[in-house]
Structures are given as structure tokens and as C-alpha cells.
């Protein structure tokens, strides 16, 4: 191997890489949905009146933010079968991403909830609305609307973290790239390309978040 940089030899493998990219996209989309749902629940718990709920949610966030993702992933991947839960690598990966994503997005959503003007909350309470309706129709719509941009960066983080799923033999984008690299003996080209692909992907996500934010807030701010 000489000091060449020849990306054209990767052309036949693009289809394979595309399949990996699709798997990444699918895993991330599912994890985003799961993480968002979890994040909303946890954020509500962290802003609840009950100190028990706050504590429990606080511990969950604390753990998932201070333990490396790969350790979380291995814990689930090797541990779940021990207690009889047989999940595919894909399912385990999505689960792990959702749990981690939930912790980070709960931070963002919690900030959004705390930013709801107390007067608006009072108006809702005073009109006799039950608590669930207040959360569903007033608090969450307002909080989520202001959280779109920071949630975008949580999603970016998710996409980058998804590369770690290759460590549990999942053939998402990074996993597929490893195979291509060993096939072509051109790891530099493969991984450089991969770097650019991920950077483009995350840039696209950030852009979409910005667009979504502007659309949602067109007439409100």
C-alpha cells in the first residue's frame, strides 16, 4: 500500500453502505421516538410536586449521564438474556439508545416546562381544567415548542452514539463500514468517507431542527 488515496474502489460497496445507513436511520428514528416519550415522562416527574417522583427521576438521569454508553449497552446485551429476555441486537441497541436518549432529552424538556409562564398555568388551573388536561393541552405543547432546537442536538448526539451499536455486531453504518474496510484493505478511505457521511447526516438533522422550530413558532413569538 502506498501513499494513495483512492476512493473510487469503494464504488461497488456503496449499496452495502447504504443498507447500513438505512439501519442507522431506522434505529435512530425508533430511539428518538422512545427517547422522547421517556424524556417527557421523566421531565414531568422531575417537575412534579412529589419528592419521590423527583428523586427517582433524578437518579435515572444521573446514572445514564455518568456511565459510558458502551457499558450501558453491554449491560443490556449480555445481561438481558440472563434473566430470560431474548432481544435481537437491533432491539437491544434501540432500547439502549432510547434509555440514554430519554435521560438527555428529559433535561431539555424539563427546561422547557420550567419556562412556561406561571401566569399561563394559573389561568389554566383557574378555569377548572383537570391536571392531565393542563399537562396535555398547555404545558407540553408550550414546552416542546421551545425545545425543538436543543432536542435537535440531542438527536444529533443519538446519531453519533448509534455508531457504538457496531460493537454488538449490528451492521448499521459503522458496522458495515468495518466489513467494507476489511474487504478492500483501504481502511483510510472507508473511514474518512464514513466521517464525512456522519458529519453530513448530523448537519442535516440540525438544519431540520431549525426549520421545524421556525415553522412551529411562526405566529407565536
Amino acid at each position: 500500500m502506498s501513499l494513495t488515496f483512492d476512493p473510487t474502489t469503494l464504488a461497488p460497496y456503496l449499496g452495502f453502505l447504504a443498507a447500513g445507513a438505512r439501519l442507522t436511520a431506522l434505529a435512530c428514528a425508533l430511539a428518538l421516538a422512545g427517547g422522547l416519550a421517556l424524556g417527557i415522562v421523566v421531565a414531568l416527574m422531575r417537575t412534579a410536586a412529589s419528592p419521590l417522583a423527583r428523586r427517582a427521576a433524578g437518579i435515572y438521569v444521573d446514572v445514564f449521564r455518568n456511565v459510558p454508553f458502551i457499558v450501558q449497552l453491554f449491560f443490556l446485551f449480555y445481561g438481558l438474556p440472563e434473566i430470560g429476555i431474548m432481544l435481537s441486537a437491533f432491539a437491544t441497541g434501540v432500547l439502549a439508545l432510547s434509555l440514554a436518549g430519554g435521560a438527555f432529552s428529559s433535561d431539555v424538556i424539563r427546561a422547557g416546562i420550567l419556562a412556561v409562564e406561571p401566569g399561563v398555568l394559573e389561568a389554566a388551573q383557574v378555569s377548572g381544567l383537570p391536571r392531565l388536561a393542563i399537562v396535555r393541552r398547555i404545558v407540553l405543547p408550550i414546552a416542546l415548542r421551545s425545545s425543538v432546537r436543543p432536542l435537535g442536538s440531542v438527536f444529533v448526539n443519538l446519531v453519533l452514539t448509534s455508531s457504538i451499536l457496531s460493537a454488538i455486531t449490528l451492521n448499521e453504518l459503522t458496522g458495515s463500514a468495518k466489513i467494507v474496510a476489511s474487504d478492500t484493505f483501504q481502511p483510510f478511505e472507508v473511514y474518512a468517507l464514513l466521517l464525512l457521511l456522519y458529519a453530513m447526516l448530523t448537519w442535516l438533522v440540525s438544519l431540520s431542527a431549525g426549520v421545524l422550530h421556525r415553522r412551529l413558532n411562526r405566529s407565536h413569538r
Partner: protein
């Protein structure tokens, strides 16, 4: 069917892994901070070609997975440069560069948080750019940057766990070895997780203490 139970040698393995993780974290933090600050200086001095180049590099490092960066350096560089690279060397290079990118962003943002009027005042008093930086901007920027720095350090600690994938025998790799041998994933990974957690807490506590000392100092100045 258990392979083997835990032995006291496992404790040694664990400590060794812990040491490797901690050492690599410390080394890459120091090197990364130095490089990142140097990059921020380039931006402060608005060096043509280098400043924007560094900005692009930082964006790339920030917006791509660390694992892929590790693969690129460990698998890719040796082929490109026709040299050999040990896993530890690759880890050092990659994580230092990655840390540098984030330090750069924090430093730039912290410098920009120092009000424009400070810079103007310094200029009016005749200070040159370096003096302004050293006496006026840097102390204030440091106070701004400490918060995000704490978060970054905790994050980079987690990131060190990825070096296990390219074969460095760090704390995570030690866990993988133990897991494979004893087949007790719950115990192994909980212990590993706990050790990382404690290290992260230690870092957070140290940064908080540094911040209160820095803040306290500046408050006294205010009197």
C-alpha cells in the same frame, strides 16, 4: 455453566484497567486542552487560512462519531503512512484531537462572552492584543468557560470507554474480559458502571470546587 468465579487477580485487572482509563483521560485532557486553546488563539488573532481551517476541522471532529475517528486513526493511518500504530498511541491521538475540538468551541464562546466593551476599553488604554488577552479577556473567559468545561470533561471520560474497541486494556476492556470468563454480566457491568460513575462524580466535584474558588476570587475583586 460457569467458566470461573471471581478471583483476587480480577481485582488487579480491574485496577489496571482503571489506571489505564484514568491515565489516558488525564493525558488526552491536557494535550487536548493545549491544542484546543492554541486553536482558539488562532481564531482570536484571526490568522488567515489557519483560523478557518481549524474551525472546519473542529466542526468535523465534533459532528462525527468518536468510534469512527478511532477506527480512522488506528486502522487507516498506518496504511496511509505505512507505519505501525499501537492501540494506545491511536487512542491518545484521537481523543486528544477530539477533546481539542470541544475545548476550542468552549474557549471561543467564552472569549466572545466577554463584552466587547472590555476589548475596547483595553485598546483605548493602549494594551496590545496579547496583553488584552492575558490580562482582561482570559481571566473573565475562564470563569465563563468553567461550567461547560465540567460537562465536557465528564463526557470525555465516557468517551474513553470506546478505546476498548480497538484493543486498549482499559476499564471497559477489563469488564469485557471478566464478563467473558465469568459469564456474570450483571455483576461485572454494574461494577464497571459504578467505577465510571464515581470517576465522573469526582471530576464534577473538582470542577465545582474550582469554579467556586474562581468565582469567590472575582467577587472579592468586586469589592
Amino acid at each position: 455453566m460457569r467458566y470461573a468465579d471471581f478471583t483476587s487477580l480480577d481485582l488487579l485487572l480491574l485496577l489496571q484497567g482503571l489506571g489505564v482509563s484514568a491515565a489516558l483521560f488525564a493525558a488526552t485532557t491536557v494535550i487536548g486542552t493545549a491544542i484546543g486553546l492554541a486553536w482558539a488563539l488562532l481564531r482570536y488573532y484571526r490568522t488567515p487560512l489557519l483560523a478557518p481551517g481549524v474551525a472546519v476541522l473542529a466542526e468535523l471532529l465534533k459532528n462525527s462519531p468518536v468510534l469512527v475517528q478511532l477506527f480512522l486513526v488506528f486502522f487507516g493511518l498506518p496504511v496511509l503512512l505505512e507505519t505501525d500504530l499501537s492501540p494506545e498511541q491511536a487512542a491518545l491521538i484521537t481523543l486528544s484531537a477530539n477533546t481539542a475540538a470541544f475545548i476550542y468551541v468552549i474557549a471561543v464562546s467564552a472569549i466572545e462572552s466577554v463584552g466587547r466593551d472590555q476589548l475596547e476599553t483595553a485598546r483605548v488604554f493602549g494594551l496590545n492584543r496579547w496583553q488584552t488577552l492575558r490580562r482582561v479577556v482570559a481571566p473573565q473567559a475562564a470563569a465563563f468557560g468553567l461550567g461547560p468545561l465540567a460537562g465536557l470533561l465528564v463526557n470525555q471520560l465516557q468517551v474513553t470507554s470506546l478505546i476498548s474497541v480497538i484493543g486498549v486494556i482499559d476499564l471497559t476492556k477489563a469488564g469485557a474480559i471478566l464478563n467473558q470468563r465469568t459469564l456474570k454480566p450483571f455483576i461485572v457491568w454494574t461494577v464497571i458502571g459504578l467505577l465510571y460513575y464515581l470517576m465522573a462524580r469526582l471530576i464534577a466535584r473538582t470542577c465545582a470546587r474550582a469554579e467556586s474558588r474562581l468565582r469567590g476570587h472575582s467577587q472579592w475583586k468586586g469589592l
